[in-house]
Symmetry: C3
Subunit: 359 residues, 3 copies
């Protein structure tokens, strides 16, 4: 009788070049959109205002781009990261198609590299993950690398292949939703006063509001994405493990909260086009209050009506950047090495679609 429990894959179970088709496609509905708003407070009109979306030439409101991300990511967890020690990074995350209520997403990942750690008890696995809708159109692709435990720590595998991942998504590769008619953009719907031309590299936007995370909130969000990684759900196991200090908030929920807070100051944004990279700098636990700021890194005109802002979305726990300036990194006195400030939980570099100011 085979053991039927899926215990997830260990480092030795992966093979460079293999493709894993992830289980359980997911139909996203109006219900998911509503619950996503309830869990994050998101106010982007493209996702909650059908009339705004229609005015822009789309059939109706779209599924929040982060809900799409979390759904595709969640599908990959049982195959990729059930035994992950850490999510090390993302690169070249591309949002390729709007997803509408009623669309069904499936996901697959290709293993593109593996490297055993020096200690030999774990290894880094690089994957390229893709999400497709029911018409087999890609809606999202991204690189991700995770630190995965080895099943037999004492047995060297010889894997040393660390692939290069793209440093950024070039503006030429940014794809606004097909058929989007920015000419019909109505700023009374967003309440936003600032357009593409109003943001300058070097500028910092403080988002003002804070949001405290509850256990029920982050678990409900993570269950909605059908992400079943144990660290988010099992207080009994997590309380025994001093490394964690209790259940960890899914890093994606932190991104969602931060993106939602960042509506204040980026009201005219029309959605994420791509992430250049992202780091979960420190863990978030229930009880933490999250604040966010955005640094404008770059701008890129996409058409006569649309532009993209390259933004650094920084999230801090339990310190309000409206009250004090918080350094992103601190130098350790003893080692002399720089590391993220202990309250920084997210450092995300992404491209935001935004209309140009109408002439």
């Amino acid at each position: 009788m085979p053991d039927k429990t899926n215990r997830g894959h260990f480092f030795e179970d992966f093979q460079t070049g293999q493709t894993l088709r992830h289980a359980v496609p997911r139909t996203l509905t109006e219900g998911d959109n509503a619950l996503y708003i309830g869990l994050t407070g998101d106010r982007s009109p493209l996702h909650c205002d059908a009339e705004f979306a229609r005015q822009l030439g789309l059939p109706r409101e779209t599924i929040n781009d982060l809900l799409v991300f979390h759904t595709v990511f969640g599908k990959s967890v049982p195959d990729i990261s059930l035994n992950a020690v850490a999510n090390l990074g993302y690169a070249d995350v591309r949002f390729l198609q709007p997803v509408y209520p009623g669309d069904t997403l499936r996901a697959e990942s290709r293993v593109i590299g593996m490297r055993e750690t020096t200690a030999g008890n774990a290894g880094v696995v690089w994957v390229h993950t893709s999400g497709f809708n029911q018409r087999e159109q890609p809606v999202l692709t991204f690189y991700r690398w995770v630190l995965v435990n080895k099943a037999t720590p004492d047995h060297p595998t010889g894997h040393t292949d660390a692939p290069l991942t793209p440093e950024e998504v070039a503006p030429a590769d940014l794809r606004p939703p097909m058929g989007l008619n920015a000419r019909a953009f109505d700023r009374t719907a967003t309440g936003g006063r600032y357009f593409f031309e109003d943001y300058q590299p070097g500028e910092r936007i403080l988002h003002g509001e804070g949001m405290t995370v509850e256990e029920a909130d982050h678990m409900t969000a993570t269950r909605l994405y059908q992400n079943n990684a144990r660290v988010h759900f099992d207080a009994h196991a997590m309380s025994k493990d001093a490394r964690f200090g209790g259940r960890l908030v899914y890093g994606g929920h932190v991104i969602s909260i931060a993106r939602s807070l960042s509506f204040n100051g980026l009201e005219n944004g029309l959605g994420m086009l791509a992430w250049n990279g992202g780091t979960h700098a420190n863990p978030t636990h229930a009880g933490d209050t999250l604040y966010a700021w955005t640094d404008v890194l770059d701008t890129a005109a996409l058409s006569d009506r649309l532009g993209a802002l390259r933004l650094r979305l920084v999230t801090i726990k339990n310190l309000n950047p409206m009250d004090e300036e918080i350094p992103l990194r601190l130098r350790d006195e003893r080692s002399g090495r720089e590391a993220y400030h202990g309250n920084i939980v997210l450092d995300l570099d992404y491209w935001l679609l935004i209309p140009k100011r109408a002439a």
Copy 2:
């Protein structure tokens, strides 16, 4: 580079006569209805039973009237009450049209009066707020007045204009949903034994059940309404401010819980037609258990099949009115002044639509 953070309006930013069009219209869907039930336990069949609604001549189940209220109210928060010290009152709240899943609501407010406080550091702003559906039909209108901080407390503004707001909504102004065929009312759907004729002024109905509020519950509800007032979400800031004792539960969530509890004893009610007025008498915090009773204040026949009950819905925290009679107001021994009992959190005066007993 202008500061792009919306810090909300201060007293000096308002002007009597101005109209503020609030941002981010909201499409309400089946998903919102489901989550509303999950957060409040509401059992009104008009909102959860499509067959019941069709039998009454409506196209399908409607969005809960309080979900409509909270949505319109939530839209007004960033413009009106982000810096509000207190929500002082409501008057002449009118529910004018049923809202159906798929309808999109937008909101606007007209400033109708302003009065600086004697202390001079804040002022009361009176607004008349309207919610419209995507056909520009008004679905809800109400008066509301809030105490708002001044940006420059030492600089007098001279505002002394305190408008009169209506004391009540006259029965002639109550508007049952167009096309509602009360002849087809089926009391097996509601389980209710009592009709318009069975309720008498002076009668008190104890609603029996109690509901404890959790942080995750009220925050999810308030996020669903896209109401971003800091006092509900930011435990870090609220814990520093001894006035509050932690995050405050959005008063509208208290109304929703109380209305839901009041199903027991008012089963045949077909929805709120209007509020004459309402007061959030004391704050509610997570951990509080809410109970409710209803006093019948008046009755008004509307047609040969429909009537309205004028009801006072009282909500109490941490004392069960089934166990003891709780006075609404207490006289302070020292000052001799009357004030709400410290456990009363809501005192709402509203008109409930209810069918007459079939002959």
Copy 3:
């Protein structure tokens, strides 16, 4: 003026043979499905993947069978178990029709037996409950018996009628969804490697994952089912009653969590066909972490493509069966009597539909 509060029925209010039509039919929507996933983490593709359902010949994804159960059960609470001291058991639970988003369920119960307790202060009421869709097709039927308080404990009622309830649902009575074309079953959607033939009586499947229950989670779930039993919601009352140790988690939420955990190892399951019986062995409270295992009791071929597994789904709080073997029952040293292990919270005997391995 009659007292309008529904205080629920006491033992004396029931009469063998009577039928109670329960109030407030409920339209289940995409919103309920989404929230159900958010509260349980369910991953069964039949309920979340419209394309999978269509491939199998169904019109679209179906409402989770347990969401159907909880909805029908919740309807019966105000009439049957508002004054229940304990839910003693279920038998012959049959899932008869798929329920689709947009269907409206109503429920009724027939009283089939009553027996006063020896102590005389309460009595057991047996009911047969049925749920119907808007076409009056039965979707679910079950037997249930509850211990209900007497209104006048000192007044004997003479009820001694304890009906026999079926010990099991015979395989011949199991009804897979009409029109289900198992030939088109796609195991890449489920991720499951094991089919009907791969499971053997005597086999144990450990489900690996654990889920901690929060107050907000179980209350939101129970409100979604419009189940208003006080023990789940009223912390103020429950904290005064030493028997309970705080709010009790609705036993149905425990079943949902356990069923959701059991996806791991039973991925190809296509839904519950019937329960033979079930016991809530011990209470669950917020803060408890739930784990589950499944014992395979029996198998039954249903057609050339479909089979049923008779499974015992056992749920344990705060002990992980992956770490240690947990005996279902323990012998009390002093009394010599056997009782459930104090950490076992659920012992459910059910039939799961599962495809046969394609030749």
